[in-house]
Amino acid sequence: MIEMKEVNKYFGAFHVLKDVSLAVGRGEKVVVCGPSGSGKSTLIRLVNRLETHQSGRVVVDGVELTEDPRTVDRVRREVGMVFQSFNLFPHLTVLENLTLAPIWVQRVPKKEAEDTAMHFLRRVRIPEQVDKYPSQLSGGQQQRVAIARALCMKPKLMLFDEPTSALDPEMIKEVLDVMVELAREGMTMVVVTHEMGFARTVADRVVFMDGGRIVEAAPPADFFSAPKTDRAKLFLSQVLGH
């Protein structure tokens, strides 16, 4: 599904990603973790070209991402993304947020788009909020709307960029529950998160990054019980230690 080969990325002189290679298969769930500034957000933003890479190859669902906007467009239509700060459109209602892309990108008839939207709103368990504006919802509800919005495009792959980091503790669970359910249904997922409980439950693989490199990649059982590197041990003791 995703094939990254020796990807390098710079922000000016700053080398963010160093020779990163990563393959994610169909239906696989990968959790990416690591200290802040390790390049994990940049890594998943490369997958739908919210960031551009300077060298190496990024292939998503058989399409290599290049300067050609058509490749970018094709990939983005297949990839859903959920952000740390929700990024709902504040001037549109929940329903309009959900139907916007299906109507304007996929040219789905309005009625059908609204049916799909209601379907996914029920899935994320907030169908009653359909006519509200994002600012009227709690953080947890907003993030669930954001997940539903991405799902309305019927993506083959979902990217989550720290989806619970901006949430109050009591709201984290309602978002994680939705994500666990999605994982159980077989969605291919790449999740940047510090929620190690989530990683243990659903991940097929945990990828640990530090300083722009993938330092370790292992099934969660191995990674949590026997991390191979000192940096991973230190990181785990910090996120699990309290």
């Binding site: 983005r76 993304m81 459109f89 990108v105």
Partner: protein
């Protein structure tokens, strides 16, 4: 009483200043009422005016039709009057959100057509009046209306162009905005009226009013573009990220996500610029068009009424104020939504 003590006389220093201010205010209010009403002359009699101490509203009594309608044929004044009322009605009508439907453009189209028919005439027994003779209020309103109608979309394109990834487009937009902002409106008007004809092939002439309108549009667009750009810059990056992630192409992204949010935050400075635009239309005087303020000036050149400038300008200010105040109130109601 408590309010008075808390807000006006909390200590003796503030108390003295408050008392002083109140005395000044009351005195000037009395003086104004005295001048404007009690001692004022309402008859159109210049000699009586010179004898009196108060305001000479007689000037307005006699000249108000010229001030409001300019050199439009006297017995046809009902036509610009009707056109002005119609144009104001169109604006008022458009102020209501419930009418923001696609047919509003049709209403405007027919409304403006009707205004054109009234002003030019030549049909239904109305004699033809060439637009060289249009003047006063309707000219101010028309220049402002078309100024907004063309400058606003143009300004959005300029603002988007200034933020474009394409270097040539960006350079053109920056160049245009900086050039226009760097010169006074008067010189743009001069260029439009004096230099533009030089560039046109001989035989082709553009109407004076159209040239003035063109200059106003060009000028207002540059200012509005910077206001819109400010709004665009206030949109958080996450909104772009989300729009990109949903594969929305540039124009749909801009139209559906970015502009609605950017324009909403730009409402106060936009209205500010539009108010300035309405008042700036008075500069068309220098190329020989007679808008509301120009007609005031001309009324004063008549020897009999020489020296009664204050009254005439108070009257013109009042007219401008009504329009500008209405705009600013409307924009406030918009912000509180």
């Amino acid at each position: 009483m408590k309010w008075l003590r808390d807000n006006l006389f909390p200590g003796w220093v503030s108390g003295v200043f408050s008392a002083l201010l109140i005395v000044i205010l009351v005195k000037s209010l009395f003086a104004f009422v005295d001048w404007a009403f009690l001692e004022a002359i309402w008859r159109a009699d210049a000699n009586a005016c010179r004898a009196a101490k108060g305001a000479c509203w007689g000037l307005i009594t006699e000249k108000h039709r010229f001030i409001l309608f300019g050199t439009y044929p006297y017995e046809q004044h009902w036509r610009p009057a009707a056109a002005s009322v119609l144009l104001i009605a169109l604006w008022t009508f458009s102020a209501f959100r419930a009418f923001w439907k696609w047919w509003l453009t049709l209403v405007w189209f027919f409304g403006l057509a009707l205004i054109g028919m009234l002003m030019w005439g030549g049909v239904f027994g109305m004699p033809y009046v060439e637009n060289e003779r249009w003047g006063g209020l309707i000219l101010t309103l028309l220049l402002s209306t078309f100024g907004v109608a063309f400058a606003f979309p143009l300004s959005i394109l300029l603002a988007l162009g200034r933020r474009s990834d394409m270097p040539i487009i960006r350079a053109l937009c920056v160049g245009y905005i900086e050039l226009i902002r760097g010169v006074p409106l008067i010189s743009v008007l001069f260029m439009a009226s004096v230099m533009l004809p030089l560039f046109l092939p001989s035989g082709v002439t553009i109407d004076k009013m159209v040239r003035a309108q063109l200059a106003i549009v060009m000028f207002a667009a540059a200012y509005l573009a910077e206001v819109v750009r400010g709004g665009l810059q206030s949109i958080p990056r996450g909104q772009y990220d989300a729009a990109h992630a949903l594969a929305l192409p540039y124009w749909r992204r801009t139209w559906l996500i970015i502009l609605p949010q950017a324009l909403r935050v730009s409402v106060p400075p936009l209205v500010n610029t539009l108010i300035a635009l309405l008042k700036d239309t008075s500069l068309v005087l220098i190329i020989g068009l007679f808008d509301l303020l120009s007609t005031v000036k001309i009324s004063l050149t008549e020897p009999a009424w020489n020296g009664f400038g204050i009254e005439a300008y108070v009257f013109a200010s009042l007219v401008y104020f009504v329009f500008c105040f209405a705009m600013s109130r409307y924009s406030r109601s918009f912000e509180h939504r």
